[in-house]
């Protein structure tokens, strides 16, 4: 993992197609977070960029996340919505992968009465301390992205944690690792030299529900922000959103 990034990526691609159970080399094959060069602005601020021009809506991220954390049936940390619109023959379907936005101004944190939900100083990841959480569900209601749920097994508030256990070991999150389209980029937004910062600088990006003032750290390239309510705009034609969650509506 100490090699420079280009060779690292080349080696990773090569090894990925090779053996899986080859002990040490398989571990080394896991995509790693690039080492942070100097020139970072202040602290680490982790974020994710999802390029929807590449996303094929395969739900691999949803599955990888489910198995990484053994997320119980009926709830998800990561999911992919399908947005279908238009009237035949002018129709289209786009995908919108969803997860916690690790907001810079997170309303889930400000409502938590126990301090169980907090934003980590060192890297901006918003976490739930399950040793403290009482399961009051306040944060679940306060999140404008429906990113949280009460884990039916543990009875604590739960959500995406940017795979801290992997990231802290220099690996990329599970959903990023698994994405066959390479649509997800994870990295330090405060580091102008990181792949995520460079890609964001070159592209037009957007966040979800910016009017909520939460300042999300999950960005999208080419997201379709069409809502079922937009059906009133005739040019959108028919709009159907399939959330792939128990709740068929976005809240």
């Amino acid at each position: 993992m100490n090699k420079d990034r280009k060779t690292e990526i080349a080696r990773r691609r090569f090894l990925k197609g090779l053996v899986l159970g080859a002990g040490g080399s398989a571990v080394a094959a896991v995509p790693a977070l690039p080492r942070t060069p100097s020139g970072r602005l202040g602290k680490v601020r982790y974020g994710m960029l999802i390029d929807l021009r590449k996303c094929v809506g395969c739900q691999s991220c949803s599955v990888a996340c489910k198995s990484e954390f053994d997320v119980p049936l009926g709830v998800s940390r990561s999911w992919v919505e399908y947005v279908e619109k238009g009237v035949y023959p002018h129709v289209g379907r786009t995908f919108l992968p969803r997860l916690c936005n690790h907001c810079s101004d997170p309303p889930c944190v400000s409502v938590c009465p126990t301090g169980a939900t907090y934003k980590r100083e060192q890297d901006g990841i918003v976490v739930v301390d399950d040793g403290v959480c009482i399961g009051c569900k306040y944060c679940i209601l306060a999140c404008p992205y429906d990113a949280r749920f009460l884990n039916p097994v543990t009875r604590f508030a739960d959500k995406c944690d940017f795979c801290i256990h992997r990231v802290s070991k220099g690996l990329v999150p599970s959903c990023v690792n698994t994405c066959p389209a390479g649509a997800r980029i994870f990295g330090d937004l405060n580091d102008p030299g990181s792949q995520i910062s460079k890609t964001m600088a070159r592209n037009r990006v957007s966040v979800l529900r910016p009017e909520m003032g939460t300042q999300p750290n999950v960005y999208y390239i080419g997201a379709d922000h069409t809502e079922p309510g937009n059906v009133k705009r005739h040019e959108a034609g028919e709009v159907r959103v399939v959330t792939h969650r128990r709740d068929p509506e976005r809240r």
Partner: protein, 314 residues
Amino acid sequence: MIEELDWGLLVIGYLFLAGVGAGAILVSAFLTLGAGEFGASRFAIARYGAFIAPLPVIVGTAMLVLELGRPFRALNLFKLINLSPMSVGSWFVGVFITVSLLYALTFIPRAAGFGDRLNRARRGLAWVCLPFGFAMAVYTAILIGAMPARPFWNSPAIVLLFVLSALSGGVASVMLALAVFHKPGGNPAVAEDRDKSAHALGSADAMLLLGELAIILLFLLFAQLSIGSVREAASVIHAGGALAAPFWGFVVLLGILIPAGMEMGVIAPKLLSGKLFNSYRAVEILAPVAILIGGFALRYVVVVAGQITGPISI
């Protein structure tokens, strides 16, 4: 629908009961501190309020704890205090229960006893009960109002509505106690005094109900005048909306218009012609029951509406 929600019937019940408790203590404290036109029955009414107040709050708090994912961890709420309305609110609840129980204790001896130590303690506690009663009523609304992600709740109108509803629920519970335990009749002087008190409570309640109605109309008006999420959220209580029936049927008609009408019918003759006030037992019982049902329905509609609506963009 309700079992799919994060905050279900137990939370709704808590918000309602906390409001009734807060209202009852406010009525009692106001009376203890000498407000309103009450004669010799002042003490008796204040006593009902004092005895009623802690009960719904204690029951409601127990319900709230049961709603937690981890009920045995409820004490984590008291390990720190932060600016979360739930954190501040739990301390309010703790103080409220303690103070209201102490206040109720001072009412155990039946005689009013002026100038004695008990009376001083009672008045002192009443001064503490006032701000904490208001705090309880206000915080239950700020609790849900603190979330921009829930456009139906994120409005100062909800705070005013909850405060007025808490007060009218408190008055209603005291009126009900008066009607049930303090029957009219007997000595004419006592009976007249009792009727005067019932009249004072009834007029106060009618004013509160009309205030609620005004705030509901303002809420609907401003939702209609806005665009986007708030307007969309308020549409669930418009005709044809998912909550239109409980809202217009139980909150507005049964909880406000009918009891306000009953009370006006009884109060109006005195207001208009100075005629002696007649107490109708049926009104004294039915009006508060309707108000309490309406108060519960209000919490139900508001709590459900906030959860089934959200921001309309993505």
